[in-house]
Amino acid sequence: MRLECSGLNFAYPESETMVIQDLRFAMDGPGFHAVFGPSGVGKTSFAKLLANYRSRPELPIQTSGIGTILYTYNLERLPAWSSTGRHLDRVCPADRQDLKKALIDIFQLGPVVGARFSQLSMGQQNRMNLIRYLLQDFDLLILDESLANVDEKLRQTILLAVKELFSHKMFLYISHNLMEVARFCKDILVLTQPSRKKPSKIVSGQDDTSIPVLEKPSLDRVMLEVMNAF
């Protein structure tokens, strides 16, 4: 699995300001990768371009070993006409019923599957939304702030579980939580403002697979490196 970008530029129509300029990087292998950077740096724009790059052949994005790319984001909603559990049932392939049950359990949503989406808290809504994406066929799943409003402990549990259950898949995790990104991600693409003329770069994260293995000095080094990158 390889994702490569060789000089991606992007500006919104009728705008002269570049959102993304000359973006170059490569990420290899399945696992949890990240896109990190301050607000307005073009993380979501990049994610959307990547999700739809096949319909825009002019984009300098190349992949190998990656078929389906899905993009999910914070504040996506499920329809209101039936319970979240029924919605999950409808979008869950028959052969993934066990996975669905496991995810509901890990995501701690068992008690609310009978509730309608509008009756869930924001954190529950985001977790419910993420489950339905994880049940789909994908090779690369872009998670854009998909675990926002979820408490830190549960978020770590979810991240580690996803890494374990979907170890053969590629994830691109967009988050503003530096420690989380540094700790759990493999390659961290640090985006910078085009106006700062500083190229974006890849920083290697710790790629932890369990909670007890926290190595403070090592983590500090990664975080410092990320901070220095923009």
Binding site: Y71, T72, A80, W81, V91, S118, Q119, Q136
Partner: protein
């Protein structure tokens, strides 16, 4: 909701009648110009049964007309929701036709269809159809991206699902417009009857007008108001029940 509608109408009607009677008293006008309370009551006792039957006749046509217009509005609204050339054409045509006063087309309708049931039905349907259509088009043409994204991304989106999502997301707007269009349908039917029909409360009002019988007109207005309040109240109550069961308001909105 239902009772609130009725007593709100009663208050408005009483105020309206009160103003008329104050003007009558203040200007010492005869019963010919503004009827006094005894004459109004006498007329009401004498005519209310007949007028009630007439209003129910009008209401039945209005309900049927409204039903047809709701069906047509959704049919055309669903067809015209796409940003394709055909969709755009349907929207523009709907906006343009809406600019025509239906009442101006009424004479043509009566010539073609006569002054019976069909003309009343068609005019009622047409009068409430266009406002409904514009609302439905507005709802159906506006994507609900935060819900639709998943279905599009995973290849599950079908037109039925798209319509369902957009309708449910705008349930409040649609139920309000549908309840509001009841008044339009009723008004359309009354106008049709007033112009040329041979039945219904509009027809009775026309006769009362020929005979300068304001007391009869006031009685008819009361009957229309009460019946339409009940009908609209029922529609609104149904709308509230629908919204409570299916609505997408978040729980913060319920606080």
């Amino acid at each position: 909701m239902l009772f609130r509608r009725i007593y709100q109408f009663m208050i408005v009607y009483a105020v309206f009648l009160g103003i008329l009677l104050v003007v009558k008293k203040g200007l010492s006008l005869s019963d010919y110009v503004i009827p006094g309370l005894p004459l109004i009551l006498e007329t009401a006792v004498h005519m209310s049964t007949g007028f009630f039957t007439d209003v129910m006749d009008t209401l039945s046509v209005a309900i049927l007309g409204q039903g047809i217009s709701i069906f047509l509005a959704f049919f055309v609204g669903i067809l015209g929701r796409k940003s394709s050339w055909a969709g755009s054409m349907i929207r523009v045509t709907a906006y343009n036709i809406q600019a025509y006063p239906i009442v101006a087309l009424a004479p043509i309708i009566f010539i073609l269809l006569g002054d019976g049931f069909l003309s009343r039905l068609l005019i009622a349907a047409m009068i409430c159809y266009f406002p409904l259509l514009l609302s439905v088009l507005g709802v159906m043409a506006a994507p609900v991206e935060d819900i639709e994204h998943f279905y599009i991304a995973t290849g599950r989106m079908r037109w039925q699902l798209e319509v369902k999502i957009r309708a449910f997301e705008n349930l409040s707007k649609l139920t309000t417009v549908i309840a509001g269009s009841a008044t339009l349908a009723m008004a359309g039917t009354i106008v049709a009857e007033f112009i040329a029909a041979n039945a219904g409360i509009g027809y009775s009002i026309r006769i009362a007008l020929y005979q300068s019988n304001l007391a009869a007109i006031l009685t008819a207005l009361f009957m229309i108001g009460i019946v339409i309040s009940v009908y609209q109240g029922i529609l609104e109550t149904l709308g509230e029940m629908l919204k409570a069961k299916w609505g997408s308001e978040n729980k913060g909105g319920l606080l």
